[in-house]
């Protein structure tokens, strides 16, 4: 039940009711996947919620840019993932050294560390062993199925560095192969 405090955009003639309805349907159907994607990227339950809220607000604000070439839920998913990346960038820039290797991550932010104790899945815990750059590159390529060049653009770097981060991530995951198998 919503307490209306202003006219809903769905009542505005320039935005047909179907638009708002479609968003509501998408929220009901896909918000669990959106939240999971945000949690994978941010490694924090509360940051993920913030990213999801921001992403949805952004999607709603630019709903007129939505084209029929993709499903609304998929389109929102992409915006939500970008919002999560944006949130992570605002907290800490990705750090690379001159050779293109990522510099060692400092200790995780306290809230991230605390929340990771309660984190939803073993998989996330396992992925949390990756550095921020490896983690982002791997999650975007493996789970979100972004192309390497898209990831490079999102991380303000080049494709070669993303490749190296991805390779390192896979090597680390292989080292933990038994753990992953146990999770299956």
């Amino acid at each position: 039940m919503h307490l209306r405090v202003m006219d809903s955009p769905s009542h505005n003639h320039s935005h047909p009711t179907a638009d708002a309805d479609a968003f509501h349907v998408a929220i009901e159907a896909r918000s669990p996947q959106w939240l999971a994607a945000c949690q994978r990227i941010t490694r924090s339950a509360s940051l993920a919620e913030d990213a999801l809220q921001d992403g949805l607000a952004q999607a709603w604000a630019k709903r007129e840019q939505f084209g029929a070439h993709a499903s609304l839920a998929t389109w929102i998913h992409r915006i939500v993932v970008n919002a999560a990346l944006q949130l992570m960038r605002s907290r800490r820039r990705y750090v690379w050294d001159e050779s293109g290797l990522e510099l060692q991550d400092p200790e995780p932010q306290p809230d991230v560390q605390t929340e990771s104790d309660h984190f939803v899945s073993q998989l996330t815990t396992l992925l949390s062993r990756l550095t921020q750059v490896e983690h982002t590159a791997f999650v975007l390529r493996h789970f979100e199925q972004w192309r390497l060049k898209e990831i490079a653009a999102a991380m303000d770097t080049n494709e070669g560095r993303v490749k190296q981060a991805l390779f390192r991530a896979v090597r680390k995951l292989r080292a933990s192969e038994k753990t992953i198998r146990n999770m299956a």
Binding site: M1, H2, L3, R4, V5, M6, D7, S8, P9, A20, F23, H24, I27, E28, S31, P32, Q33, L35, A36, A37, S46, L47, E49, D50, Q53, D54, L56, A57, Q58, W60, A61, K62, Q86, S90, R91, R93, D111, T114, V120, S121, L123, L127, R141, H142, Q145, R147, L148, K163, L166, F167, V170, R171, L173, R174, S176, E177, I180, R181, M183, A184
Partner: protein, 231 residues
């Protein structure tokens, strides 16, 4: 062409090798059993890609719907909240109405400023938002001051309410193209959230409360300086 593990990784992630490279790896995998085993071992080490989902808390789902409706969501339909909290919710609803009426600018990308209360920038165009934030941080300060004296149930309700109002204001700040405020509110919200999950009357809760009070005071001081700068 040497087919090392890195090449196999790129082969696994489709469209990352050229067409020629792709064909060459595919042929080699058909012919070379040892390479095939290496590839299978590599792939089996990767987590399964599936449509993972997690449970979305009801308050979050309500808030997402509210983003579309431009509305403020009460904590729960049936939960009766303490009077002070209900007054706060009313103020927040009125404040959101003000934002809705005054702020209808398109959202733009945010910058990378550090989310600290002291760094929030005040812009003349944000005057309605500033009024709303002043109400919010005043209310937060009052609630935080009262928390320790009240029963646990009241605390939980008050914190949830504070969190919901904060979330609404994050969205309002984003819509108002006020990324600095959005970041301050987001950071504030993270700590409120943590306060809500900390055992009541614990040392952690007490420290968080003090930190939140400090941040609310910093914001109120900063917001109070607006008229002399912009009006």
């Amino acid at each position: 062409m040497t087919i090392d593990d890195n090449t196999l990784i790129l082969y696994y992630y489709q469209n990352e090798l050229s067409q020629d490279e792709n064909k060459r790896v595919a042929r080699a995998l058909e012919r070379d059993a040892h390479l095939r085993r290496r590839y299978d071992a590599l792939v089996s080490a990767l987590p399964e890609v599936h449509q993972a989902s997690v449970e979305v808390p009801q308050r979050l789902k309500q808030s997402l719907h509210a983003t579309i409706d431009g509305s403020v969501v009460p904590l729960t339909q049936h939960q009766r909240r303490p009077k002070a909290v209900r007054v706060g919710a009313g103020l927040a609803a009125a404040a959101t109405l003000i934002i809705g009426l005054f702020i209808l600018q398109p959202e733009t990308d945010t910058t990378d400023a550090t989310p600290q209360a002291a760094e929030a920038q005040v812009h003349p165009g944000h005057v309605p938002l500033v009024s709303t934030l002043t109400v919010h941080f005043n209310n937060a300060r009052n609630t935080l001051t009262l928390l320790d004296e009240r029963p646990d149930e009241w605390q939980t309700s008050a914190i949830n309410d504070l969190l919901l109002r904060n979330r609404s204001l994050v969205n309002a700040a984003v819509t108002a193209d006020a990324p600095d405020y959005a970041r301050v509110l987001r950071a504030f919200g993270l700590r409120i959230n943590r306060l809500g999950t900390s055992p009541t009357r614990s040392a952690d809760a007490s420290a968080l409360r003090q930190q939140l009070l400090f941040e609310a005071n910093v914001m109120l001081t900063k917001l109070s300086q607006l008229p002399s700068k912009t009006v």
